[in-house]
């Protein structure tokens, strides 16, 4: 019994020392890599826009200068709105980064803008802030799990139709084929995308019968504004139904929206 106790005692002592030494070495090695040598770097995010989707691109470089391999690397990012609701998420997997090697990748997080604006119309008119969480999960030395990341990074959202105001419809002139009027659409494009679209005026008579339609196209570049008055000539498809009074329905049709946005209606005559 005495011999077995002694053997057990040595086994425990040696095993404990080995495990402790491994743990300290691994943590120290990785800490040095991350903190001193900046082995894991998240670059400045860049925002791009193409084919109805906004892409947030984050360059990530991992330089494994430590003593062990980094395995099962999972890059994940989440875009949340102001209220913390998830808007988009992306995950990327890398199998192994052996010691002494490095990788540079761009982690992309895409957001379908038309879908986003359809679900939250308020984003068309109000500036807000999104938050991005970027996390890197990995196994180190096949035994330790690490999670490193930046959470709550602010990404500003500029409203494409900030301060939208429709005004200036005054006198109407009917020349037999067209109903001509002047109006003003004002808004500031705070977003990173150009706002292309049309203002559509649809005329009805006092019996609410369709008369005709007039369209004004506009193109407002990113971070500029639209405030100049313009003239719209509504082509009367049914001029004989024109009674001198009725309503005009105004709709805004934007390239990046799947549906026209109704601005309301005014009466004339």
């Amino acid at each position: 019994m005495r011999q077995s106790i002694r053997a057990l005692s040595w086994t425990i002592t040696i095993s404990s020392l080995l495990v402790f030494a491994f743990f300290v070495t691994a943590v120290h090695s990785l800490s040095q890599t991350i903190l001193t040598e900046q082995g894991i770097q998240l670059g400045d995010h860049q925002i791009g826009y193409s084919d109805d989707s906004m892409t947030l691109s984050m360059p990530i470089s991992i330089n494994n200068t430590s003593y062990f391999d980094i395995t099962q690397i999972q890059l994940s990012s989440t875009l949340n709105n102001y209220y913390g609701q998830e808007l988009s998420t992306a995950t990327q997997l890398i199998e192994t980064i052996e010691m002494g090697t490095n990788i540079h990748i761009a982690h992309n997080l895409s957001l379908n803008v038309p879908m986003l604006l359809s679900s939250a119309t308020v984003l068309l008119f109000e500036d807000t802030e999104f938050t991005v969480d970027v996390l890197v999960d990995f196994k180190y030395a096949s035994a330790l799990g690490f999670q490193i990341g930046l959470v709550n990074m602010s990404v500003p959202w500029g409203a494409p139709l900030y301060g939208l105001n429709f005004s200036g419809i005054g006198s109407f002139q009917f020349n037999g084929t067209h109903l001509v009027t002047n109006c003003t659409v004002e808004f500031e494009n705070h977003s990173f995308l150009d706002v292309n679209g049309t203002v559509q005026l649809t005329a009805y008579n006092h019996l609410d019968e369709y008369l005709g339609v007039g369209i004004h196209e506009f193109n407002v570049a990113s971070h500029s504004q639209l405030d100049a008055p313009f003239e719209v000539a509504l082509l009367m498809e049914y001029p004989f139904a024109y009674s001198g009074s009725g309503t005009i329905k105004i709709t805004l049709d934007l390239d990046f929206l799947d549906y026209p946005h109704n601005l309301g209606s005014i009466t004339y005559g």
């Binding site: 425990i12 491994f22 999670q147 990074m153 602010s154």
Partner: protein, 167 residues
């Protein structure tokens, strides 16, 4: 009766018995935590470490306290019982101090690059595998201490006893 009187210990006997135990307890206490505690108090290493050391110092104080008492009570059954208790307590404290193996380190102050505004840096370590190995080793240690306790009890039972003379 005469034997009983002869067995009574003098002051020198007590000093011979207690002094080595006190010496051993001082050395043992230093090795089992006192030395590290002294190092932490004398140096400014706390400011360089990304950890709250309160948990570690608690473990070291407990370890040192147990070792001192164990050495003072050596050659008694309490020595083995205390070793059992210490191993068990350490298993529990290790799990509690590491939050079950997931450690969150506040490393923001150690970053050399500035963080984006409002952003928080996250650094979590999952040490469940290493903790599992330590728990396994602690269980083996528990078994070893139990065997030592049984061995001590058996030895004591096998010792010849002289009954006091019946009047």
């Amino acid at each position: 009766m005469a034997d009983c009187i002869n067995d009574e210990k003098t002051l020198i006997d007590w000093v011979k018995l207690v002094l080595p135990r006190i010496m051993r307890s001082i050395v043992g206490g230093f090795i089992m935590g006192g030395g590290v505690l002294l190092f932490l108090h004398l140096t400014d290493i706390k400011s360089f470490l990304p950890l709250e050391l309160s948990g570690l110092t608690t473990l070291l104080y407990i370890s040192m306290g147990f070792e001192i008492v164990i050495q003072l009570l050596s050659y008694t059954i309490f020595q083995h019982v205390l070793r059992l208790a210490r191993t068990f307590l350490f298993m529990v404290l290790l799990v509690l101090e590491t939050s079950g193996g997931i450690i969150n380190l506040p490393l923001e102050s150690f970053l050399t690059l500035p963080l984006p505004s409002n952003a928080n840096f996250v650094f979590n370590i999952d040490v469940t595998v290493v903790l599992g190995i330590f728990i396994l080793l602690s269980t083996l240690n528990l078994a070893k201490n139990l065997l030592q306790t049984i061995q001590f009890a058996v030895k004591q039972a096998e010792k010849p006893r002289t009954l006091p003379a019946f009047k």
